[in-house]
């Protein structure tokens, strides 16, 4: 008979329960501050639901009415240096953080609402209504509330999507030498999604000051928690990752506050992340002004029972019980808040012309100018204005032959040496003498704090890098061992990192560099051989560089690191062992954004290519003996494309071939062909031709793999065909 020994988790898991004694011990200032926040948030959200009922909110209004206890109880202890983010249901957390930021010592419920609170509520209301003077110029709305100054770093409409970003914020707090913490709020519905679980692990592994705060309101839209998980005690997830975890009644703001006191002590002491599960209840459905029972996934009785534990009533009751406030004071506080919201409504609303009695509309002058629709997708590059841009021919220094992989390691080392903000992370980047290809050789020995070997969890560490970039104190370089892993981290790359700047008003910065390896030809098969350029080119926010020489790698990496936008640096394994001229001992030169390289002058056909395909195109041109002009794009994204060079060449040659190696479906050249035919139609003498790989991803078999992507032979065949017509 085998023996079974009980195993205890390494991290504690406890429930905190308060008694009246705790309520008696709480300071009057704390309780009145809680009351003020609860009243303001509750009244604000009721007003929002009223607007939604009148059709004045475009899109969903996810109210948190009923859940305010968790938000107020947790935020009220945070400083302005601490950061919070949250989910689509985030009005309460955002406002609690903002109100605490504006009045860390509490708002007196007996006094008129302070002017700065009025302004913040108006600005929040405007954002939720999608108006020009909202925090994000109306772009974010209800689900994307951000006010960096207050430490509210952005709520998120992807379930769990904000959690890795909060880890980036926490990493920055820690490595900037502060004791600030990050709190990431999410719901029970996010507890089973990969990015959250990955971030549990990563934050614990790296001992980050991050509070995972799960508001367990039992329903993911209409699906009950018991239907989707066997362990409904969600704080039980924490110990499995080595995370100190608490369960608490989220309807009780004081209980939450007391848990946070313990949690913050743990966090600020540098003992790693914490998990707080607050049991809460939303009185209304997922969104809109109707209760969940109206949609029949729960009963009115259940709602009635939860309402009896209302956090606002609870705090009010104790205040009256302790004689701190009279019932009339509380009624007056609520009345004052309602009048304030009505007044704020008057600021943005007016009677609808020819409408029914009392029918309102948004004042026309409140709407944003539709002309800003694409403004701020990327930055204006003003951060690069002072950089000394040079190209290979501009240097007086000695030219030496360098290997491509050496150029990568060299420029990374140089930047880490001169810029303490640069952080390198990825799988195995700290081992194997510079990662799997030697690109980070020597870095971990010199900069152990800033060279981070990650767990195999692209969503978490890409998102952590994104959060780090948005924080602004560091400049992360994230490595993906294979480009195909972008699908694994797609939410972080495209929904979060790529969109963040624009979505939050178009003014923030996201200085992240993603090194992404293209490995077709190495026999790694269908899931490791893609060229991601075509996908990144469809994603707003990203810039794309594709260096084809060691010199270009250094210059483009330096510019990418100086740029405040996310930049993906494509690296092709075919190039790693190639050699080319660089400037002796110079890793400090910059290539300008949006400048292609004409690798061969010609007048017969314009061939547009990039990355490793450049060398194959040049070989094909010599092979065929055609006078083609070969343009190596260097910068591939829509905003950074060198249209001057392309236009001059097309106007000269009139015939265009776009050549790339990867598969048809995710290929890059489609949008470029589309753009060229529109911009340069009158200069074309033939349809724009393209060379790509096949439809299928490259296989493992060497023969099938070679047949799947394009190289010299495919380009040569196409050039011959074009020359014959």
């Amino acid at each position: 008979m085998p023996i079974h020994r009980a195993i205890e988790p390494g991290a504690a898991w406890t429930e905190l329960v308060v008694t009246d004694a705790d309520w008696d011990a709480a300071s009057a200032e704390l309780l009145t501050a809680m009351l003020s926040q609860l009243v303001l948030i509750r009244t604000f959200e009721e007003f929002v639901l009223d607007l939604a009922a009148k059709g004045l909110i475009h899109g969903p209004a996810h109210s948190s009415i009923g859940q305010e206890g968790g938000a107020v109880g947790s935020c009220i202890s945070l400083t302005s240096r601490d950061t919070v983010n949250g989910s689509h249901r985030g009005h309460h957390q955002f406002l609690a953080k903002v109100l605490t930021h504006l009045h860390p010592d509490g708002i007196d419920p007996a006094k008129p609402v302070p002017e700065d609170v009025r302004e913040a509520l108006l600005r929040t209301l405007r954002e939720i209504c999608g108006l020009a003077r909202g925090f994000s110029r109306g772009r974010g709305g209800s689900m994307h509330l951000r006010w960096d100054e207050a430490g509210a770093i952005g709520t998120n409409a992807i379930v769990g999507g904000g959690v890795p970003l909060a880890a980036g914020s926490a990493w920055a707090h820690k490595h900037a030498g502060t004791d600030a913490v990050a709190v990431s709020y999410f719901g029970d519905g996010a507890m089973n999604i990969g990015s959250v679980l990955e971030t549990f692990n990563l934050a614990a592994a790296w001992s980050l000051p991050l509070c995972f705060f799960v508001e367990n309101n039992q329903y993911a839209v209409s699906t009950h928690i018991a239907e989707v998980t066997a362990e409904t005690r969600l704080s039980g997830r924490g110990p499995g990752f080595g995370i100190r975890s608490w369960k608490v009644d989220g309807m009780d703001p004081l209980a939450v506050h007391l848990v946070l006191q313990e949690a913050l002590e743990h966090l600020r002491a540098g003992r790693g992340p914490v998990l707080v599960e607050a049991e809460v209840y939303r009185y209304f459905h997922q969104n809109g002004p109707f209760p969940g029972s109206a949609f029949r996934y729960r009963t009115k009785e259940e709602e009635r029972q939860w309402r009896q534990r209302d956090p606002l009533d609870t705090v009010a009751r104790h205040l009256v019980r302790r004689g701190i406030l009279a019932q009339e004071d509380i009624a007056g506080c609520i009345q004052q808040a309602k009048e304030l919201m009505a007044e704020l409504g008057e600021v943005i609303l007016e009677p609808k012309p020819d409408g029914k009695p009392n029918e309102k509309r948004i004042k026309p002058q409140e709407w944003p100018d539709a002309g800003i629709v694409d403004e701020g997708v990327r930055g204006d590059l003003s951060e690069l204005a002072e950089l000394p841009f040079t190209d290979l021919g501009d240097h007086a220094g000695e030219l030496v032959e360098s290997s491509f992989i050496g150029a990568i390691a060299g420029v990374l080392a140089r930047r880490m040496e001169t810029d303490p903000r640069v952080v390198v992370m990825g799988e195995d980047v700290h081992r194997l003498n510079g990662g799997t290809n030697g690109a980070t050789r020597g870095l971990s020995e010199r900069f152990p704090e800033r060279v981070l070997g990650t767990p195999i969890s692209e969503n978490a560490f890409a998102g952590l890098g994104g959060g780090l970039a948005m924080d602004g104190r560091f400049r992360p370089i994230v490595e993906f061992m294979y480009a195909d892993f972008m699908w694994v981290a797609a939410d972080q790359l495209f929904n979060q990192i790529g969109k963040a700047r624009h979505m939050f008003g178009g003014t923030g910065t996201v200085p992240l560099v993603l090194r992404s390896k293209v490995a077709m030809g190495t026999g790694y098969g269908s899931q490791h051989s893609m060229d991601p350029a075509g996908i990144f080119a469809t994603a707003p926010g990203w810039r794309i560089v594709a260096p084809s020489t060691p010199y270009d790698y250094i210059g483009l990496m330096n510019t990418a690191l100086a740029c405040d936008d996310p930049v993906v640096v494509l690296e092709h394994v075919d190039l790693y062992q190639s050699r080319g001229p660089t400037i002796a001992d110079d890793y400090d030169h910059y290539l300008p954004v949006g400048k292609a390289a004409v690798r061969r002058r010609g007048s017969a056909i314009t061939v547009i290519t990039y990355l490793a395909m450049t060398q194959y195109v040049l070989a094909a041109v010599e092979d065929v003996g055609i006078d083609a002009e070969v343009i190596d794009l260097r910068w591939l994204d829509r905003a950074s494309l060198d249209w001057d060079t392309i236009a001059a060449s097309v106007q000269k040659c009139n015939t265009v071939l776009i050549a790339e190696q990867g598969t048809q479906g995710t290929s890059y050249g489609g949008w470029l062909a589309d753009e060229i035919q529109r911009r340069l139609f009158d200069w074309l003498d033939a349809p724009i031709e393209r060379v790509t790989g096949g439809e299928a991803s490259p296989s493992i078999s060497k023969v099938l793999e070679r047949a799947a992507f394009a190289g010299t032979e495919e380009v040569a065949a196409k050039l011959r065909q074009m020359a014959e017509v």
Binding site: D682, L684, D685, V725
Partner: protein
């Protein structure tokens, strides 16, 4: 009843000609005697005039298209002619594929390709012709629009006979060559500015391949043929021309035509021909043709290329008549107004590069001539006469001779006569 307009035989023994330009528009009435179409042979452009008033109802040949003599190029008739009748007439023609084709092998022109394409399509016009959609690349459309070129007049060589840039450029080259005489010095400038506007196209290339004009093709073919088939030998002579220059001065203002030194040389050649008829011949392949009169071609360099109009009966002309006739031919050569018959005949060409200061050169015989006389510049040089040094005006001549009809001795005798005449110019007037 609609009627067929056919390609006329604009010159003896021509088998084909190019429709250079349609000078009246479709369905636009014209008067009798009005120029309907200009057709071009290798050396001349000929205006075809309407025999009677009427209207062009259907074009069967594009501008730039090569058409065999006798082949239909248009249907004409009354403006209100029944379209069915026109269709029936065209259908009845059953245009054979070869009817408009006849160029040299390997020298296929875009027009010929189009003609072949039209035949494949079973229609009377090229696929890119009137009525249907014209397939042309965007840059071809742009260039044509800038040059004011109607794409219907351009024949495509791209896929599906679509018009590519090269086709427009070829058409423009042809129309520039053909249009220069019509437009005069001013209008000739309109296409070039358009070319400049296209900037990168013309300017950025390190060179430009200019498509061959018909004239350039003809010059190339004929002179290669001459060098291949006519065994050349060369006789050189030096002539003292002080007295010839005196004569020219004396003739100066006479007869309303300034007499040039070249006129005197041409006249001297005619006299030499009468004294040594053995050079006034041409090689026929199976016979040698002996001419009775001195028909002498003069080489004229024009901006379009070299042409050699023939002055007939120089032996019967006064020097004044000769000068006037020569001047007129040269003028029309520059204006591309020479008629085909003015370019035919003769046994010798006189070519003179003296005005460029060329001392001496050897020329290629202009077939079917037996000889060509290359005349250098007259210049003052030291000259010894009877052991005494003098200053004399000297001119060098080089006679290229086809050895097939003429032997060296005959040519030498002719050359001796010529130098004698030039040094004793009173004989020119004999």
């Amino acid at each position: 009843m609609p009627e067929i307009l056919r390609m006329p035989e604009v010159a003896a023994n021509t088998t084909e000609a190019v429709v250079s330009s349609w000078n009246v528009s479709l369905n636009t009435p014209y008067a009798a005697g009005e120029t309907i179409v200009t057709v071009e042979t290798e050396k001349a452009a000929v205006d075809i005039e309407a025999e009677a008033e009427g209207t062009l109802l259907r074009l069967l040949a594009e501008e730039g298209q090569t058409v065999a003599v006798g082949s239909p190029i248009a249907v004409w008739g009354h403006p209100d002619e029944n379209q069915d009748a026109v269709d029936a007439l065209v259908a009845a023609l059953d245009l054979p594929a070869g009817s408009t084709v006849g160029g040299d092998a390997g020298n296929e022109s875009p027009a010929e390709v189009a003609a072949a394409g039209a035949a494949h399509d079973g229609a009377g016009t090229a696929s890119s012709g009137h009525g249907g959609r014209i397939f042309a690349s965007p840059i071809a459309r742009k260039l044509a629009a800038e040059a004011g070129l109607d794409l219907a007049a351009v024949v495509g060589t791209g896929p599906n006979h679509s018009i590519r840039r090269r086709d427009v450029e070829a058409a423009l080259a042809v129309s520039r060559a053909a249009g220069a005489s019509d437009s005069g010095p001013d209008t000739g400038a309109s296409p070039p500015p358009a070319r400049q506007e296209t900037g990168p196209v013309a300017v950025r290339a390190d060179f430009e391949d200019v498509p061959l004009s018909r004239m350039r093709q003809a010059i190339a073919r004929r002179l290669v043929d001459s060098k291949h088939s006519a065994p050349h030998f060369y006789l050189r002579a030096t002539v003292r021309v002080d007295r010839l220059l005196d004569v020219r001065r004396e003739l100066g203002g006479d007869a309303g035509a300034a007499v040039t030194i070249n006129d005197l040389i041409v006249r001297a050649v005619a006299v030499a021909h009468s004294r040594v008829p053995g050079l006034n011949v041409r090689w026929n392949g199976d016979s040698v043709r002996q001419y009775r009169h001195a028909d002498i071609a003069i080489a004229v360099a024009t901006e379009h290329g070299l042409v050699t109009p023939v002055v007939c009966g120089v032996d019967t002309m006064s020097i004044g008549q000769l000068a006037r006739r020569t001047r007129e031919l040269i003028q029309r050569a520059h204006n591309r107004r020479l008629r085909q018959e003015e370019l035919e005949g003769g046994s010798i060409t006189v070519t003179n590069l003296g005005m460029f200061g060329i001392e001496e050169f050897a020329a290629i015989i202009n077939p079917p001539h037996a000889a060509i006389l290359a005349v250098g510049a007259a210049s003052q040089q030291p000259h010894v006469v009877d052991g005494e040094l003098q200053v004399a005006t000297i001119m060098r001549l080089c006679l290229s001779v086809d050895h097939r009809p003429v032997d060296g001795a005959t040519a030498a005798e002719w050359m001796r006569e010529l130098t004698g005449i030039l040094e004793h110019p009173v004989r020119i007037l004999a």
